[in-house]
Amino acid sequence: MLDIFTYSFMIKAFIAGIVIGTIAPLIGTFLVARRFSLIADTLGHISLAGIALGLLLHINPILTALVASIATAILVDKIRQNKHISGESALAMLLSGGLALAIVLIGLAQGFNVDLLSYLFGSITTVTSFDLYLIVPLGLLIIAVVYIFYKQFLYIAFDEEGARVSGINVKILNILLMVLTATAVSLSIRIIGSLLIGALLVIPVTTASQISKSFRQSLLLSVIISLVSVIAGLFASFYLNLPAGGAIVLISLIIFAFTYISKLK
């Protein structure tokens, strides 16, 4: 057996990584199709504020990140319906606001520390058993919800007006997709980091869409690309002592570059 698997923290990192590597592109596919991928970065920054709050109050930071990002996701959906502010502007404001709030809370917690840096850029050593109790069941729940509402999510992504006319409750499903996104982002922070999570929701999806011959194929391929990136990134992180999030995102970008160049030829 590879010595990497003799460490329990690495086994936890791989379990969390496989779940995150599956759910991130699963949600990302629908966000990219709707040109709404900036939401992932916004919720990543909001999650950071949630994490800072958790560290300040000595509550599990993933829990506080989850609550903060779900509340923000619902707020984003409300703002999106308000025609006076564009969805893009709302996301940009919330992104900056989330980071500003995080910095203020970090200041109150008297400065940066190693633990916080791991939430910014991801770490393989910080996944706890409690995190797995959150990540695995919630990850499986996200997969189940996407499976059940696949047709409706696809219809809304492709033609929101048409979906509404066909009788689909677009309002509720939009909120559901936002909540799923918030959950996926919060769960991914341990491994990827709040500043890089958007990349895992977008890069594998964009890569897959370059070579896919159908939406279903694009969805499955994006999950495969994401899992390859996460697993290779975790190996690189362990053996080369690199931050996990950075390694994973760079590997996914290399896969994208190869795909893009091979398509040009």
């Binding site: 696809l154 033609d159 007006e161 048409g162 066909s166 011959k213 159908s214 939406f215 694009s218």
Partner: protein
């Protein structure tokens, strides 16, 4: 009169006293309109006349500030049989090719099963393209796919918003021939357009909108009544509404 037009039946669409605007800017005022089963109706008006807004009010996508909408005899708020309505939105055929979805996957959004998907694609002559990405098709082919998507739910009423924008003349002719076949098979069709030339040749009745209902006439009456100049010219004036239910 078209053979499928049944005067005794309930109109498929009833609009009563519809008013809609953005702030102080009125878009539609005092619109009363009935659409009967079997009609092939052209909804005409210049750009910004409110015709697409009217279509969205019929579909419940926009809520009017005043007035009521009934679909198949049921108030819009209580209407549940959305499968009876097929809708093709504006610019559906100008889809960006970055969305990796196949023709078959699009039809599956509204059809019950694979058999129905293929059957519907055959109806519009697109069965051999079932596994093609929509972005690889021409504008005319894409529009056929969107008609198939709308038909896959077996609708009784088909609403199309500016369906021929960006489509070449040959494809437009094929498209109208397809619509005529569907109309002959009993489908009620409402087509929104700002292009009077083609519509006048194709439809059985014409409704002209420019904030208010300007006319509700046959194509012959539209031409002889000089409504085109009235609708698009500077000398627009009040016209008596010839609506049979008014």
């Amino acid at each position: 009169m078209h053979p499928h037009l049944d005067k005794k039946s309930e109109p498929l669409v009833c609009l009563h006293n519809i008013q809609f605007g953005y702030g102080d800017l009125p878009v539609l005022e005092d619109i009363d309109l009935h659409i009967e089963k079997g009609e092939y109706l052209g909804l005409l008006g210049p750009n910004g006349s409110g015709k697409s807004t009217l279509l969205k009010i019929i579909l419940g996508l926009i809520v009017p500030q005043r007035g009521s909408v009934e679909l198949f005899g049921v108030p819009l708020e209580k209407f549940k049989d959305w499968h009876k309505i097929g809708y093709i939105p504006q610019r559906a055929s100008q889809l960006e090719n970055t969305f990796p979805i196949t023709v078959g996957e699009i039809i599956n959004l509204t059809s019950k099963d694979t058999h129905q998907t293929l059957h519907t694609l055959e109806k519009v002559g697109m069965a051999k393209y079932a596994h093609h990405l929509i972005g690889e098709l021409s504008g005319g082919q894409q529009q056929r796919v969107f008609i198939a998507k709308a038909l896959a739910g077996n609708p009784e009423l088909l609403l199309l918003d500016e369906p021929t924008i960006g489509i070449d003349a040959v494809s437009q002719a094929e498209f109208y021939a397809l619509l005529e076949n569907l109309h002959q098979s009993g489908l009620t069709i409402v087509i929104v357009s700002h292009d009077t030339e083609d519509i006048v040749r194709e439809v059985s009745r014409i409704v002209c909108v420019n904030k208010k209902l300007v006319c509700h006439v046959t194509p012959g009456e539209f031409v002889s009544g000089n409504y085109r100049d009235i609708l698009y010219g500077d000398d627009r004036k009040a016209i008596i509404h010839h609506h049979p239910h008014a």
